[in-house]
């Protein structure tokens, strides 16, 4: 005899799991406005490209300010995109001006908060990253709330010299102060993930719902058994399964998204795997960002072009011999500075590649770059000094007409970086009253 059990809804399950289960962070954060209004909105995209190890300072800052400025040698690859970018001078990240030279500056880049000094036990970024604030806003509107990409796997081990786990140096996206988001490093897997998310199978979705329901119940049962301090780990898993379930539900309903992408995933663009050449690897990841935006599979993406302290060998560049981090400790020696600058310039070239690519995708009114914000930056300025003052920051894209490019903005010394994240979140459609240590909305960004 087949014993039938009534499927228990997730709601019931969670109720049963106890009142202690807090609302998942992302939902609690999500404004109720846009989706409920049923208005078709033109999506804005947000990408962040993080570069480790800083820049050669005397060849970074443009000459002149406002609309009259000349790009520096490092920024020169952006010449054709000059009207699509803002170069921002004198922003600093005060919260990362503590601890060690790299980890605090990396994990705190988008949170503007100071991480706990920890080998792991009480790891805490003490903040939520700007991209995840934005992702919370678009949750449910696109198949994936956000995409986290990187070139290097999470760095090995803990750094006993300075007392930080290298987890810190490998993450810029934090959806919760104790939850750094895992990054995908293999472009093939990124492609497959985008493809799967954007092309769900309805029959499979029905069956997957049954499966996930079982898994959620197991998690709920287990959650009741474990100690209070460990519950958050199971909550993270519950949340992970539930976000998958939401996607499956979306697929099985076959509901229309509030804005339909104009492009499909072209299977022939699927990368074979991780290329052995660094430059090719970076290019493929940038292609995946462009594809994700073009197909509207997600609207938020962070990409770490290297982990903190990366000593990636850049000898594939003409005139460079040696590792990135080693060269960043240039000691003002001309030869090291020259090579250090070439590496930063190469990163700017990659940034320009993405901007150009987005600019090449036409949408109804304008191109994708016009509807994007693409931030480029590093968590420290000069690698020899490890100082988070006057950070190298460029913001590209028009944010749907909210940002007018072609300017070099020179702010007062020590203007909080967090002030920049406010207009950015505003333009993204998820305004915040306050971001970390921000003092005001950075003027001159939004028009």
């Amino acid at each position: 005899m087949i014993k039938q059990t009534r499927p228990i809804s997730r709601r019931t399950l969670l109720k049963g799991a106890g009142a202690a289960l807090s609302l998942p962070w992302l939902e609690a954060m999500m404004p109720t406005s846009s989706r409920a209004s049923g208005k078709t909105e033109r999506p804005t995209r947000l990408a962040v490209l993080f570069m480790p190890n800083g820049v050669r300072e005397d060849e970074w800052t443009p000459e002149g300010e406002g609309t009259e400025f000349k790009l520096s040698p490092t920024l020169e690859p952006l010449q054709d995109l000059k009207n699509d970018i803002l170069v921002l001078t004198n922003l600093w990240n005060q919260a990362s001006n503590y601890g060690d030279g790299h980890y605090v500056k990396t994990s705190g880049f988008l949170t503007c908060a100071t991480i706990n000094k920890s080998l792991g036990f009480d790891l805490n970024s003490n903040g939520i990253s700007m991209d995840q604030m934005a992702a919370a806003h678009t949750a449910g509107k696109t198949p994936l709330p956000s995409l986290e990409l990187a070139i290097d796997p999470v760095s090995i081990g803990v750094d006993t010299n300075v007392g930080y786990t290298r987890v810190y140096g490998s993450h810029i996206a934090w959806s919760h102060p104790t939850r750094p988001l895992a990054r995908e490093t293999n472009p093939r897997l990124v492609f497959e993930r985008l493809f799967r998310a954007g092309n769900p199978n309805r029959d499979e979705a029905q069956r997957d719902k049954l499966l996930l329901d079982r898994v959620l119940k197991d998690a709920g049962q287990l959650r009741k058994r474990v100690g209070a301090s460990d519950r958050s780990r199971l909550d993270d898993y519950l949340e992970s399964v539930r976000s998958l379930e939401r996607r499956v539900e979306l697929a099985s309903r076959n509901s229309k998204q509030d804005w339909s992408p104009q492009a499909d995933m072209p299977p022939e663009l699927k990368p074979a795997g991780i290329p052995s050449e660094h430059a090719e690897h970076v290019r493929l990841m940038l292609d995946m960002i462009a594809l994700a935006f073009q197909t509207d599979t997600t609207r938020v993406c962070t990409f770490m072009m290297g982990n903190a302290v990366s000593n990636k060998n850049f000898s594939f560049l003409d005139g460079v011999e040696g590792g990135h981090h080693s060269l960043s400790h240039h000691q003002s020696k001309s030869e090291s500075l020259r090579q250090y600058q070439l590496i930063a310039r190469w990163h700017i070239q990659q940034y320009a590649y993405l901007l150009n690519k987005l600019k090449g995708f036409q949408e109804e009114d304008g191109n994708i770059l016009d509807h994007s914000m693409v931030l480029f930056g590093s968590g420290l300025r000069d690698g020899n000094k490890h100082s988070p003052r006057n950070l190298p920051i460029v913001l590209g894209g028009g944010a749907g007409g909210r940002i007018k490019g072609g300017r070099h903005m020179v702010y007062q010394k020590n203007t909080p970086l967090s002030n920049l994240y406010r207009p950015m979140l505003n333009a993204f459609g998820s305004p915040v009253e306050q971001f970390a240590d921000s003092t005001e909305e950075l003027p001159g960004i939004l028009s």
Binding site: G157, V162, S175, R179, V215, L222, V226, F316
Partner: protein, 677 residues
């Protein structure tokens, strides 16, 4: 009976009445505990000899003597406003304050023992007797404080499997040769530097999706493989067997293996329900079974190691199956096998002798493929050789670096360590040995003659081979180099940090790394430049300890090949350490390290204990480390003593009591039984 926690909370001590139907969550009485304790007690007996010496002095007199020593010989440099090496010793005003930080003082003592401090040029230097007495006094204080109140174990473990454990567990569960976890995100490390630390095994939204995908792919593979699916599809619907009955039989066999513990009727029933729901929609037995299995593999019961928390105030032994799981993920990096499960089912695993027998069985050569999971995960992260081909890629000018060489380099320390474990060799082989493992490419690289293939093979080393021990291994020599040249600073730092557990502090802010001072205009050798930099006392305080060690390895190039000269000049591999010890070349460097073997073994013990416990060590673990090291000293450093010492330790076999007052309770029974021994 359905709520194990409620059941357990009624029990006191570690005793419970016999239940006719033993279940997983029941606490099993361990009658053999006192016997086990007696076996360990002698280790502790080593300690009291020192206790007697100072035992009669009152605390204040001991305090005065020790604190006087500190203020006389240390505080000139190690006090505010700018304590050297950021070490402020002025805050230690009593022995009690010292014993509150045993791990910290353990390192300070080491520096004293090595004669590195106080520096030779300090105005006042203690007499050897004075110094010895001080070290003795602090050692005694630390031990008394750490061991005197019993040992506090850590809390019940809750963590997900890491990427490599996931792959190995699926492989063994489904009996397939398939790397199921290859598409999972990489894991970071916490605690003692390993990626199995509960604290850094985060879960991102991406994980559930990845687990489902990985399970699906693995099961597709397993269901297509007749050999493999015979293993778990042990029943099929027939005229006399309904699909549900067949599914029930399959689940009864599969679920306990997947969840690594006995499962309840209720749990089987829940998965049977899922099977039925799917089967109703699409009556294909195989498809419905497959989906049910997918759910099992995405269930947190499979993905997590979840020990039941101890509801009592006092620490208690792990449940038998929990111990089996700790053991198998420690020594095999995968789930328990049939035999371990059987021992756990019979509640015998917590018996001293059974546990010993099982550990020795697990380490046996016959299980080399499984212990290699451990060797690889442990060694690659301890030594940092996982960076090969990842963080470390040599300059493109080194054309000879190809994938076969990289493979040979990567696996040399893994196979080597695996032999030390399987053959119960001395842990000191890690410092120097007359054998190693090479493949065809690596043999050529080392200039070793013989027949080799792509798979690493054991080779006896001749005295003139210039290999032997970790410091002769090209993987170690490479990951402690820069991509384009060797770095005595990095190699010296590697030795201090990795072998001796004595990482130098980071350079002061805004001080450039010494390394990068290559200026083509000044024709100096790297040694000359480094020596010049050490004239700066700020730099010298650390680099005097770091650089000479690295210079001892200058005969090895970036990829670890032997060289007698560089750029036309003979290699100078001499080094002098603070305290005056000198050496020339790798052999003498190794001899010097062998003289510091106890420091090395202590560090290795800490590392392995941290790995076994999947967490960072705390001051509470000091006593355990100390006992294991004492035991190793008495037993010629045999590797099995280390593994057994860890497995038999309180932190490994117990879980902490419920934490109500912020103070963890400890296991005192071991000391209470001392008198009986």
């Amino acid at each position: 009976m359905n709520n194990p926690i409620a059941l357990e909370s009624k029990k006191k001590n570690h005793h419970t009445s016999k239940n006719p139907e033993p279940r997983f969550f029941e606490n099993k009485v361990n009658c053999k505990l006192p016997y086990g304790i007696a076996r360990w007690a002698w280790v502790i007996l080593l300690v009291p000899a020192t206790l007697i010496v100072y035992g009669e002095e009152d605390a204040s007199s001991s305090d005065t003597k020790a604190i006087t020593f500190i203020s006389k010989y240390c505080l000139d440099c190690h006090s505010p406003p700018k304590p050297k090496a950021k070490l402020d010793l002025s805050r230690f005003k009593t022995l009690k304050s010292i014993s509150a930080e045993p791990m910290h003082w353990d390192r300070i003592l080491q520096i004293l023992r090595d004669g590195e401090m106080p520096p030779d040029d300090h105005e006042l230097l203690p007499s050897p007797e004075e110094q010895e007495e001080f070290i003795f006094r602090i050692e005694e204080t630390l031990l008394e404080s750490a061991c005197g109140d019993g040992i506090s174990p850590g809390p019940a473990m809750l963590r997900r499997l890491n990427k490599s454990e996931y792959s190995a567990s699926i492989r063994d569960l489904l009996d397939i040769h398939f790397e199921a976890g290859q598409a999972l995100p990489s894991d970071g490390a916490g605690g003692e530097g390993f990626d199995n630390a509960a604290e850094t095994l985060f879960i991102s939204p991406i994980h559930a999706e990845k687990y489902l995908d990985a399970a699906r792919t693995a099961l597709q593979y397993a269901f297509a493989d007749t050999r493999s699916h015979k293993r778990f599809l042990i029943a099929r619907p027939t005229d006399s067997t309904s699909p549900e009955e067949a599914a029930n039989r399959i689940l009864k066999e599969f679920l306990p293996r997947a969840f690594r513990r006995p499962t309840t009727h209720q749990e089987i029933g829940q998965y049977l329900d899922l099977f039925n729901l799917v089967y109703i929609q699409d009556p294909s037995f195989i498809e419905a079974m497959k989906l049910t299995f997918e759910a099992v593999l995405v269930s947190p019961n499979f993905l997590f190691i979840a020990e039941v928390p101890n509801p009592e105030p006092e620490p208690r032994l792990l449940e038998d199956h929990e111990l089996a799981v700790r053991l198998s993920y420690f020594l095999w990096g995968t789930g328990p096998d049939k035999e371990l499960m059987r021992m756990a089912d019979q509640h015998r695993l917590n018996e001293y002798q059974t546990l010993t027998t099982q550990v020795l069985r697990m380490l046996d050569k016959k299980n080399a493929a499984k212990t290699r999971n451990f060797s690889q995960n442990f060694v690659e992260q301890w030594l940092g050789t996982r960076a090969l081909g990842r963080e470390f890629k040599p300059d493109q000018s080194m054309k000879e670096y190809d994938s076969e060489l990289e493979g040979g380099m990567k696996y040399e320390p893994v196979f080597f360590f695996n032999e030390i474990l399987a053959e119960d060799r001395s842990l000191l082989d890690l410092l120097d040995s007359d054998y190693t493992y090479v493949n065809r490419r690596l043999a050529r690289h080392y200039g070793i003659e013989g027949e080799f293939r792509e798979q690493p093979k054991r080779v006896e080393l001749k005295p003139e081979s210039r290999r032997g021990g970790l410091l002769g291994m090209s993987s170690v020599l490479a990951v402690s180099s820069l991509p384009h040249r060797t770095s005595p600073v990095l190699r010296g730092k590697w030795i201090l940090e990795t072998l001796l557990g004595d990482p130098p502090p980071p350079p002061p802010p805004n001080v450039p790394e010494l390394e990068e001072s290559e200026d083509p205009d000044t024709p100096q050798t790297l040694r000359e430049k480094l020596e010049k930099h050490r004239l700066n006392p700020t730099c010298a305080s650390c680099h005097d300890r770091i650089d000479p060690l690295g210079f001892g390895l200058e005969n090895y190039d970036v990829l670890g090949r032997w060289r007698d000269e560089q750029a036309g000049k003979p290699i100078d591999a001499r080094g002098t350490l603070p305290g005056g010890m000198t050496f020339n070349g790798p052999n003498e460097l190794k001899e010097m390290l062998l003289e510091r073997k106890d420091q090395f073994v202590r560090h290795l013990t800490r590392k392995m204990l941290g790995y076994a416990l999947a967490r960072g060590l705390t001051n509470e673990d000091y006593c355990t480390v100390n006992r294991i090291v004492e035991d190793l000293k008495e037993n010629d450093y045999h590797s099995h003593k280390l593994v057994l010492g860890i497995v038999h330790s309180v932190p490994f076999r117990y879980k902490a009591g419920r934490n109500t007052d912020g103070l963890e309770s400890s296991v005192k029974s071991e000391f209470e039984n001392l008198d009986d021994d």
